[in-house]
């Protein structure tokens, strides 16, 4: 579809290199627009928000028109018109508008995806969306709306009208509707000895039918004339025509600001018009909608002996400029990198840190006066490697908010469809999770949230009858717990019915009894094909959900637990291991060995006196810390640490907390605090009791990370 404009550009200018940037930007704009639409307060809509949404639609439209994606440009143009009326307070925002705008955003997304994939088949029709938007924009008068509806793009699509044409330009002398494929240009003639010569050019437009329209623009140079031209002819045709009256060297053709797509002020501002090409519009000035560089090239080509060579010389320059422009935009965005490369980087940096630690160790004995420079260099190396390690390790971690942010939209649609009122609360959005896990956990979580919205939350009337607030609440939370990440989906809906589940299980011939514990009954819902929903909706209830959720989570070495109380709600907890999470750890020494405690679970540490420790019947020890007795766990005993140096003994208590319970760990010494990369023991070995993972110390040795949750459970039961 890009060719339509390339013809206008009159050069073999390769657009495709910019497609990717456009698609990424459009995607970001759509995301941003969606977020802002969801946050929009209809009662007292903020001007800033409305302007923000408008700007998103506007940028997409501009880009789409430049690249010739007329269907997207058309749709976003309609959105823009509606938003424009909203932001100028000519219309009051209503929920239907948000709905239709969200739908249009989805439609634009799929249209863009289609273009990105290069699909040639018939595009999905956006006619009904366009009609609905224009009806809303016209203030809900259908008759008017029908007349507003613009012609749909046919296949093969006609050259799309540039969006700026829709904006009236007061400076234009003739405001006749432009023929399809028309471009708005600014033609600069001069410097001329007799400026009146230029007037003859206007006669050309009068005399030649179908050439287009021409109008005067103000010009600050007495020897120059500036015209606004609307035409479907190519630049070279225009130049040939103009050559009847003025020499080609005196003609400069540039795209008008509006059709360049990027500038907000499409009103033919003289300021914009006089700026020479290549300085004003950055990236877009080199897009085919703005054929400036080619025009310049052609003008220069006439002076050269070998025109072709000049053109080829100029064109790369133009694309280089475009690259510089696009680079400025890339800086603020992201790059996509294969996760494997990141992992490799992390491992390499780990090796570097170990090598550095070794050098530091070896340089200890050196005379600091004699080797001053070497030691200074080593100190620099030490700092740099640590900084490097820190930043490299943070690459893989992304906050849970990335996952959570997609749910409000989904729940909104779901609630609309089901006629429910649902509010969503998210907690622990900043909890960082390995990127690989985030990608894999998204689908199961989506399922759980959808289940809560569909099965859990009751209809508003039902809720009121039960004495609950009309709005159901779904709470999503994420937290680190005992070497795992726990993600909970909690609703205050109707809860699971023990009876119903048991009946259903009997129906299906499963082996159940009334004496089963609640926890066991809830596990039944994970059986394949199990559903207690009375009505199968298109949202859920087909029973293909929970078993898939469980399987997916088990594949990540995680577990799912359900807790429910009939009439009060359901809580589904997903517990995932930290495969590669970075953790602040505290290293403690026991005998010759080093163990790591997650710093988040450490409460305090103190030197212990023998008389503070009491024993109870079976020899379990208790220590009194500020009026609270807590169990003592001697790491030496639990981990069977061999003692070589009998003079040393465990005299330091570290109080740790997990799941609300505290225990005191008895260790020999506190070694320090540092960030550690949590490595999985299970990938090559197996689960070790009381250990949640392992990490690599600065000297290359492996240290085990304690599972505080496990230790606490062990001590308390």
């Amino acid at each position: 579809m890009g060719e339509t404009y390339q013809e206008g550009a009159g050069a073999d200018f390769d657009l495709s290199q910019f497609y990717q940037i456009f698609f990424e930007e459009a995607g970001e704009n759509l995301d941003q627009m969606e977020h802002m639409l969801l946050d929009l307060d209809l009662e007292k809509a903020d001007d800033e928000e409305l302007n923000g949404i408008f700007r998103c639609a506007h940028s997409i439209k501009g880009g789409a028109a430049t690249f010739g994606f007329s269907d997207v440009a058309e749709l976003t143009h309609q959105m823009e018109s509606l938003l424009d009326r909203l932001r100028r307070h000519e219309l009051q925002p209503i929920p239907q508008m948000v709905d239709v705008l969200l739908e249009s955003a989805d439609a634009s997304r799929s249209l863009l995806a289609r273009h990105q994939a290069g699909a040639q088949d018939e595009a999905p029709s956006t006619a009904s969306l366009v009609r609905r938007i224009s009806e809303l924009a016209a203030g809900m008068v259908p008759a008017q709306g029908a007349s507003v509806e613009p012609p749909k793009p046919q296949s093969p699509p006609p050259p799309p009208p540039p969006p700026a044409m829709q904006a009236p330009s007061p400076v234009l002398a003739v405001a006749a509707p432009a023929p399809s494929g028309a471009r708005r240009l600014e033609v600069r003639i001069g410097p001329l000895d007799r400026v009146e010569q230029a007037e003859a050019i206007k006669e050309l437009f009068r005399d030649i039918p179908g050439l287009g329209t021409i109008g005067d623009l103000p010009c600050d140079d007495a020897q120059m004339r500036l015209f606004a031209v609307e035409t479907s002819s190519t630049d070279s045709d225009l130049l040939d025509l103009f050559a009847f009256h003025v020499s080609k060297e005196q003609v400069r053709i540039t795209a008008a600001a509006g059709s360049a797509g990027g500038a907000e002020d499409a009103q033919g501002d003289a300021e914009v018009a006089v700026v020479p090409p290549g300085e004003a519009y950055g990236f877009f000035s080199n897009a085919p909608g703005a054929p400036a560089p080619e025009a310049v090239a052609q003008a220069q080509a006439l002076q050269a002996i070998e025109p072709a060579s000049v053109v080829t010389r100029i064109v790369p320059k133009a694309s280089a400029e475009a690259k510089a422009g696009s680079q400025a935009q890339m800086e603020s965005t992201t790059i996509r990198v294969d996760v494997k490369k990141v992992d490799q980087l992390i491992n390499l940096v780990g090796e570097l840190v170990i090598t550095q630690a070794m050098l530091a160790q070896n340089s200890l004995g050196l005379d600091s006066a004699e080797h001053q420079q070497l030691l200074a260099g080593l100190a620099d190396l030490d700092r740099n490697t640590r900084d490097l390690q820190e930043s490299v390790m943070s690459i893989r971690m992304i906050p849970m908010s990335i996952v959570f942010s997609r749910f409000p939209r989904m729940l909104r649609d779901l609630a609309n469809k089901l006629g429910k009122k649902v509010e969503m609360v998210t907690l622990g959005e900043a909890t960082e999770l390995d990127k690989g896990l985030v990608e894999k956990i998204t689908d199961p979580l989506t399922h759980l949230v959808r289940n809560s919205g569909d099965h859990g939350i009751e209809l508003p009337a039902e809720r009121l009858a039960k004495g609950k607030p009309e709005h159901g609440t779904i709470t999503l939370s994420a937290s680190h717990q005992g070497g795992s990440i726990v993600i909970e989906v909690k609703d205050d809906g109707r809860g699971l019915s023990r009876e119903k589940i048991l009946n259903k299980a009997r129906e299906r011939g499963m082996d159940v009894s009334d004496q089963m514990s609640d926890a066991d009954v809830w596990q039944l819902i994970f059986a394949p094909g199990f559903s207690t929903a009375e009505v199968v909706t298109d949202v859920s209830g087909r029973g293909v959900g929970m078993d898939v959720v469980k399987r997916n989570i088990a594949a990540l070495n995680g577990t799912v637990e359900v807790d429910s109380s009939e009439g009060y709600g359901t809580k589904v907890s997903v517990r995932l291991p930290l495969t590669l999470a970075i953790m602040d750890g505290m290293s403690v020494g026991v005998g010759e060995e080093v163990y790591i405690l997650p710093l988040s679970s450490v409460v305090e540490s103190f030197q212990v006196n023998a008389e503070d420790v009491n024993t109870v019947a079976q020899g379990s020890q208790l220590v009194k810390v500020r009026d609270e007795y807590m169990p003592v766990i001697a790491l030496e005993k639990i981990f069977q640490v061999p003692r070589f140096d009998l003079d040393k003994s465990s005299t330091i208590m570290v109080v740790v907390e997990a799941e609300g319970n505290r225990v005191a760990l008895l260790v020999d010494e506190l070694l320090g605090q540092h960030q550690v990369v949590v490595k999985n023991l299970e990938s090559n070995y197996r689960k070790v009791p009381n250990v949640s993972g392992a990490t690599i110390l600065g000297d290359g040795r492996v240290a085990l990370i304690l599972d505080i949750g496990g230790l606490v459970r062990r001590a308390r039961h």
Binding site: E682, Y685, R686, V702
Partner: protein, 162 residues
């Protein structure tokens, strides 16, 4: 019969290469394709409550791998750790495991017909884990199905039932 079948299966493409190593006086061979690298022994991090022959875990360029001392597993008379002690790093179905041996001798090519079925004997090694006996001149080579051996439950490298 089953032994012959297995041998034929794994060695159907004719001659195969085996890495041979010594444990005390015995000589063993394992499929060279399972071997990732050979390293010197470095003291691993001990894991509590693990069987004696699992020495612990070490850091292999960022990966944590368990170290199994084959001499302890096969009840050798002595297991010394000195500068000549060698660890063979095996890559078995996405798992990486290091085994400690007395020394690595050679890489040998053995034709299918020079491998004889092992008779049923009483040993600490499950008979299923022995592919056969290779004869190289006067020496007898015990060919191990190292993958099966390492994944067996009594090795304790994988969680029971997992």
């Amino acid at each position: 019969m089953s032994v012959i079948g297995k041998t034929a299966d794994t060695a159907s493409s004719g001659a195969r290469e085996y890495l041979t190593f010594r444990l005390d006086q015995e000589e063993y061979g394992i499929d060279i394709l399972k071997v990732q690298e050979i390293r010197g022994y470095e003291p691993p991090t001990r894991i509590a409550h693990a069987p004696e022959f699992i020495k612990g875990v070490v850091n292999l360029r960022g990966t944590i791998i368990p170290i199994v001392d084959m001499r302890l597993k096969f009840n050798c008379a002595q297991a010394e750790y000195n500068t000549f002690t060698v660890v063979i790093i095996l890559n078995l179905r996405n798992r990486i495991v290091g085994i400690v041996v007395d020394s690595v001798s050679d890489v040998m090519e053995l034709a299918v017909d020079s491998i004889k079925a092992a008779p049923d004997i009483e040993s600490v090694i499950d008979n299923d884990c022995i592919l056969g006996l290779g004869s190289v001149g006067e020496r007898m080579l015990i060919l191990l199905d190292i993958e099966k051996l390492m994944s067996s439950v009594d090795m304790g490298l994988v969680a029971a039932g997992g």
